[in-house]
């Protein structure tokens, strides 16, 4: 046998080809009694059905959570969760938070210093002193 194959597995590039929304589940928790859930309850009554129809890829769960502030909990494909407390927020503010969680990737927030992130090798290659012109080589 002349040449053998080294096993490798293809890597995902979400958005190249198909885009899969990373938020897979949004859970809305509210309290029946407390006043901090007022906006959340109004959101559930007036806006949630439309929101769910607009986002068919997100599983929507509503459940009471007594004697606690209302929260929205987003579960993501990378197995992480993101929780936002929406106490005392108005309907539209709750909607904004829900959209924030829907659009999030679920990845841990980190500072991105490089302007480009890529799986491809650099086109230019690694700089080599033996291929550079004599003028460009730093002379000791």
């Amino acid at each position: 046998m002349v040449v053998r194959g080294l096993q490798a597995v293809s890597k995902a590039q979400n958005g190249i080809g198909a885009f899969v929304l990373q938020c897979k589940r949004l859970e809305f928790n509210y309290c029946e009694m407390s006043g901090s859930s007022r906006g959340m309850k109004a959101f559930l009554k007036t806006r949630l059905a439309t929101f769910a129809k607009e986002n068919p890829g997100v599983e929507i769960v509503v459940s009471p959570r007594a004697k606690k502030h209302p929260i929205i909990r987003g579960s993501y494909i990378n197995k992480r969760e993101k929780v936002v407390c929406v106490r005392n927020l108005e309907v539209l503010q709750v909607l904004q938070k829900a959209e924030l969680l829907r659009d999030a990737s679920g990845a841990k927030i980190k500072k991105i210093n490089k302007p480009v992130q890529s799986l491809n090798d650099s086109v230019r290659g690694i700089w080599s002193p033996y291929h550079a012109k004599a003028d460009d080589v730093y002379k000791v």
Binding site: G5, G57, V58
Partner: protein, 416 residues
């Protein structure tokens, strides 16, 4: 003693859920799941029939569940009568509807098919209820589109590399990653109360040698934690394990055959993805839509073909290639060097056929640089891709009159 899956608890304890704008009535959901559990535990007839059917199946692989009860929930309507009322129909599952929406599938792709694709043969042995047939169909479709894409894109790829690249795109590991990337979760154990939106399969017990699982490779022996380098005491070879086998274990092993009793998450997930592709073919409108789906979800992934090569004798192979193609014999020439007598010598060698430079390599010794130059030349040959591009043969599926530009057909691998 019935095991209750985690998703069952979800369905019991999370009473109010909306299925994408269509809220399920709280009472219906709860009463049906309660009636399911009570009838399955109380009625002796159903349990006895379950035990008789379970004895027919081969019990070869130790599984987490000691006795596998056949599923009674139907992913879609069947003519046979149901012993137990299913707890949740596919159309009632929020998870399944969300998966359907996440993949952007059209309404004509029924939830029942997607639900059936999530049921592995290890969870449901009856072929008209599990994803066995769909998975086989999807496998053929995936193989078709992936192989034609690779052959047209890289007409000179050696057969071994073609196989490896196919495995990299549509092998079980890759497809399992695709399924995980779709957000598919697995049920703890298969059962009638499991949400239809979860992948159902029978897990192999921890420590079971994977070579006993159909399609599995290896021994699944747990390594010590934080041990980066495999040590051979903890990962003995097949021969060492078979040599130390006790007579009872040997008899048990020989009595067993690799069956479909249990499988791993990776294999079950891969089989789901294949079945989902088959569903696209069956419901979305045939081959053109399947091609679009496969290109969007599978072939758009990143796989570096040039990193799949492992040459045994690259200089010899390059020489044979030049003989076959009628080029002049390749000659390696030293182009630049530095620090020949130092610790960090660098040599740059180019390999030439007459006046033509075929490749270049850089190494810390002359043979290394020469070999790298030969590898670079061979990769330049094998990874040839037509600049103007060619049409995929599947372009004319269903439309035979379309203009078609055929691909390059290479004479084949180099035989030495």
């Amino acid at each position: 003693m019935r095991r209750v899956s985690r998703s069952t608890w979800d369905s019991l304890t999370v009473p109010r859920r909306c299925v994408c704008g269509n809220p399920i009535r709280f009472n219906d959901l709860l009463s049906s799941s309660f009636s399911t559990s009570s009838s399955s535990s109380s009625s002796p007839s159903s349990s006895s029939s379950a035990s008789t059917t379970s004895t027919c199946r081969p019990t070869s692989i130790p599984t987490i569940r000691p006795s596998l009860k056949p599923r009674t929930s139907r992913p879609f309507s069947t003519t046979s009568s149901l012993a137990v009322v299913p707890s949740l129909l596919p159309t009632q599952s929020a998870k399944l509807a969300a998966l359907h929406g996440r993949l952007g599938l059209p309404n004509k792709y029924p939830l029942a098919t997607l639900g059936r694709a999530l049921i592995d043969p290890t969870a449901e042995p009856q072929h008209h209820l599990n994803n066995d047939g769909l998975s086989n169909l999807g496998n053929v479709l995936l193989g078709y589109y992936t192989s034609e894409y690779l052959m047209v894109q890289y007409p000179r790829l050696p057969y071994e590399i073609l196989k490896t690249a196919m495995n990299g795109y549509v092998g079980p590991q890759a497809l399992s990653a695709v399924g995980t990337g779709w957000g598919v979760e697995a049920a703890f154990a298969p059962g009638e109360t499991v949400d239809p939106g979860l992948l159902q399969f029978n897990r192999v017990a921890p420590g079971t040698p994977l070579y006993k699982v159909q399609g599995g490779v290896g021994f699944n022996i747990p390594r010590k934690r934080n041990r980066m380098v495999p040590n051979f005491e903890n990962n003995p070879s097949v021969d060492a394990i078979l040599a130390n086998e006790s007579p009872e274990m040997r008899a048990a092993r020989e009595a067993q055959r690799p069956g479909q009793d249990a499988t791993t998450l990776e294999l079950a997930m891969a089989s789901f993805v294949r079945a989902a592709v088959a569903g696209v073919y069956l419901h979305n409108g045939g081959l053109p839509f399947t091609k679009e789906f496969v290109h969007a979800h599978i072939l758009s992934r990143k796989l570096d073909i040039d990193k799949l090569f492992q040459f045994e004798q690259p200089t010899r192979e390059l020489s044979r290639l030049c003989v076959r193609e009628g080029f002049q014999q390749p000659i390696a020439r030293l182009e630049k060097e530095t620090g020949r007598y130092s610790r960090h010598a660098v040599f740059i060698v180019g390999v030439y056929s007459g006046e033509e430079k075929l490749g270049e390599g850089q190494g810390s010794s002359l043979p290394e640089a020469k070999i790298k130059a030969a590898i670079s030349a061979l990769k330049g040959w094998y990874l040839y891709s037509p600049v103007s591009g060619a049409d995929l043969p599947s372009k004319t599926d269903g439309q035979p009159n379309l203009p078609f530009k055929p691909a390059v057909i290479d004479v084949g691998d180099i035989v030495s």
